[in-house]
């Protein structure tokens, strides 16, 4: 038994043209008008936008170790519902992904679940402790073929360790993804340092703690001729530093999260810990600078920083609450709401920042290609006219710590196709048994 042939009819491509898309096996075999195929499962895509499957360079899948928050299965189900066909899984699991064994385990769990291509990210330093390099080469040469390394959640703050890591990963074309946070400037920090933190009496996380690390690291990357990626850029000043570095020819890329494109630190006024995140929500001036930087290419990609947490770590006083918010299911709608509806980006730009560029940065050659005959069938169909008040029913993650609950968003993923089979359809996730069986078929060839 092979997986069914799919015929997507009447989709609008990112460039605005209309086309049918024929998917057979794991490939897109034809794109054009009036296609037909005997026995194919037809998908009516009239009024829907077809984009290459989304790629998230920054996801926390929590497995192994924190399965009460999320598992590789539930996290990739959330990905499928959000239109993602590949996620890069951060290293802060338990045990930490600092050895070949752990990254191969995460890879295997992703392959078995079948919802998305899971690419493990390796820790830069052993135990995320910032003092000794993790087994970068062993992870790179494992079956997981790790190319992105990050201590995310913690900053590689020691400049010497950062320099060595940047140099070392040149061996196998890797990249260091830095969580830019000067630790001494952010002791006990709870939210953006500014007018709101002053009033609420919450310890401030100043913009300079991010900007000073980014400035240091772009100079280090220039000095050693290495590739650097900056995670979740959150301030206008960081945008200025990246803009300067790119102009100077430094090999740096940068990401912004959906929540930093939409939400501001005023949300903390409620002391509702769903809005507690690291780096924190910033001022509206920062939000506007980030949107402009994403539109003009200074910021390369949108990445979710999907960070599931169980309810008891959010239903408490702000100071005791965990940092982070889930984001896979809502990312595309937030990008449409903030960037497309405002006229700052078109759908080709969306495909660039949510699929093509993150696949290139992560070294993921199978994903992030413009829809055409011969590419691997990684696709998402989006209803751009859907208006929703985002709710718990829109989440597939095991955790419900979404900041968007009760917020109006434009656009919704209707169907997601990974390796030629559906992982989400009719705005819902396909059953796990069906998807796992489809993935087995792909492995059999």
């Amino acid at each position: 038994m092979t997986n069914p042939t799919l015929l997507v009819q009447g989709a609008t491509l990112a460039d605005g043209t209309q086309a049918d898309i024929l998917v057979k096996g794991t490939q897109v075999i034809e794109v054009g008008m009036g296609l037909s195929a005997a026995g194919a499962q037809k998908i009516d895509a009239q009024g829907l936008i077809a984009l290459p499957g989304l790629v998230d360079l920054h996801t926390h899948l929590r497995e192994p170790g924190f399965e009460q928050s999320e598992t590789v299965l539930t996290g990739t189900q959330a990905a499928a519902l959000g239109g993602f066909t590949s996620v890069f899984a951060m290293a802060n699991t338990q045990p930490i992904a600092d050895t070949a064994g752990v990254v191969e385990q995460v890879l295997r769990l992703g392959d078995e679940a079948g919802y998305a291509t899971v690419r493990p990210i390796g820790a830069v330093t052993k135990g995320l402790e910032g003092t000794q390099l993790a087994e970068l080469g062993a992870m790179a040469h494992s079956r997981a073929q790790v190319r992105v390394f990050s201590d995310d959640g913690k900053c590689v703050s020691d400049p010497l360790i950062m320099r060595r890591a940047l140099e070392y990963v040149k061996t196998f074309g890797g990249v260091i993804a830095q969580h830019a946070q000067e630790p001494r400037l952010t002791i006990d920090a709870q939210m953006n340092e500014g007018e709101v933190s002053a009033r609420l009496g919450l310890a401030g996380w100043p913009a300079v703690a991010e900007e000073s690390i980014i400035a240091r690291d772009v100079l280090l990357a220039e000095h050693v001729g290495s590739r650097l990626h900056i995670c979740h850029l959150s301030t206008a000043g960081s945008v200025d530093v990246i803009r300067w570095a790119k102009k100077r020819g430094i090999n740096v890329t940068a990401e912004v999260t959906p929540h930093h494109l939409l939400l501001t630190d005023e949300r903390a006024e409620s002391f509702d810990a769903r809005f507690k995140v690291n780096p924190p929500l910033r001022r509206s001036e920062d939000v506007h600078a980030l949107r402009e930087a994403l539109a003009d290419g200074t910021i390369d990609i949108v990445a979710t920083d999907h960070a599931p947490h169980p309810v008891e770590t959010k239903e408490c006083e702000w100071g005791a609450a965990a940092f982070g918010m889930v984001g896979l299911e809502s990312a595309l709608a937030v990008v449409q709401t903030t960037m497309v509806e405002t006229g700052m980006m078109n759908w080709a730009d969306v495909a660039r920042v949510l699929s093509e560029a993150p696949a290139r940065i992560g070294g993921l050659t199978s994903h992030g290609h413009k829809i055409a005959a011969g590419i691997q069938a990684e696709l998402v169909l989006v209803d751009p006219t859907a208006q929703r008040t985002f709710g718990v029913e829109d989440l597939a993650s095991l955790s419900h710590n979404s900041p968007y609950l009760g917020i109006d968003l434009m656009g919704q993923v209707v169907a997601t196709i990974h390796q030629g089979y559906l992982t989400a359809d009719n705005r819902t996730v396909i059953d796990a048994e069906i998807v796992a069986a489809r993935a087995v078929e792909v492995l059999r060839g």
């Binding site: 007018e195 933190s197 002053a198 009496g201 919450l202 401030g204 239903e315 408490c316 005791a320």
Partner: protein, 319 residues
């Protein structure tokens, strides 16, 4: 007024009403039998997640003088130290049937979370949360200022045109925050004096003037009120200031500075005082000092706050 969480959302009308009710309560406190039956049959829990003997006994006295039943819950040695959450602790108490919660918590915003959580239906009074607010302290300070300025004619008055200089660790002070908002609402002019390290970076967004020079600030404004804040000595470790002597020289109300003040100037301190550090004994023990008045007035103001949130009434009905 369902809850008393902060002074920032307190209207001028409500604030003056509360201070006027506190005048009635002060009259009760001057009687031989210091007791009203107003809250008979009501159970109030003092939920203290942070040590504070002074504030706790002040609330307890206020509750007892209103004839309420009082439960004291100190987090130290309770189930909280074994890791029970705010939610579970509160729901446990709610299940026992309580009519109001007075909460002191080390985390900013904890009273607000409690009030809006749905875990408990009772009114919540903030007895100090983290570095956020301490509304009953600001109300008792305002009450003290009003009484010193207007005596028996205090009722119905605000603090219009009164100049107040607050000195010390503003950054970490819930007392300062609550005072700033309330004093602004009541029409006073507030000046902050401190080291730049002990002011929030966004202090320019507050309705205050700021100075780093205490001598210059006192000389130029001749304030009606100087409020000294307690300085935590452990701040030295985090490089907020070099040492006690330098802090005292630059921002302490030394005997010399105190003697330079006009006689009308009230000297306030929320206690407990570090004598010789932020305040000299000469200032603390002078007739201009209101330190003990503040303690006495604290009971009256807390009686008024409890009375307002629990009875919903705006005037005291005399028995």
């Amino acid at each position: 007024m369902k809850h008393l969480l902060s002074t920032r959302d307190l209207s001028r009308e409500d604030a003056i009403q509360l201070l006027d009710i506190a005048e009635d309560m002060a009259a009760v406190n001057e009687r031989e039998v210091k007791k009203l039956p107003a809250l008979r049959g009501k159970t109030i829990v003092n939920l203290f997640f942070e040590d504070s003997t002074r504030t706790r006994i002040s609330f307890e006295a206020a509750e007892k003088r209103l004839s309420a039943d009082v439960i004291n819950f100190a987090a130290k040695g309770s189930s909280v130290s074994k890791g029970e959450s705010l939610k579970d602790t509160t729901q446990t108490l709610a299940a026992m049937g309580i009519d109001a919660v007075v909460i002191r918590h080390g985390a900013s915003g904890a009273p607000q979370v409690l009030a809006h959580s749905g875990w408990i239906d009772a009114p919540v009074i903030n007895a100090g949360d983290g570095t956020h607010e301490h509304p009953t302290q600001a109300l008792l300070d305002a009450f003290t200022m009003r009484r010193r300025l207007h005596g028996a004619g205090s009722r119905g008055k605000g603090l219009d045109g009164v100049s107040v200089t607050i000195v010390g660790d503003i950054l970490h002070s819930r007392v300062a925050r609550s005072n700033i908002w309330l004093l602004q609402t009541l029409g006073a002019h507030v000046q902050l004096v401190s080291s730049p390290t002990l002011l929030p970076s966004a202090v320019d967004t507050w309705p205050v003037t700021v100075s780093y020079d205490l001598d210059e600030a006192l000389a130029s404004t001749a304030p009606d009120v100087v409020m000294m804040l307690r300085i935590q000595q452990e701040r030295m470790k985090d490089a907020f200031f070099p040492n006690e002597r330098e802090y005292s020289n630059l921002w302490g109300l030394t005997a010399e500075r105190f003697l330079s003040l006009p006689e009308k100037t009230m000297v306030m301190h929320p206690g407990p005082m570090n004598r010789g550090l932020e305040i000299s004994s000469l200032a603390a023990d002078s007739p201009q000092s209101t330190v003990l008045d503040q303690v006495a007035n604290g009971v009256s103001v807390r009686m008024a706050a409890l009375y307002m949130v629990l009875t919903g009434e705006r005037e005291v009905s005399h028995d």
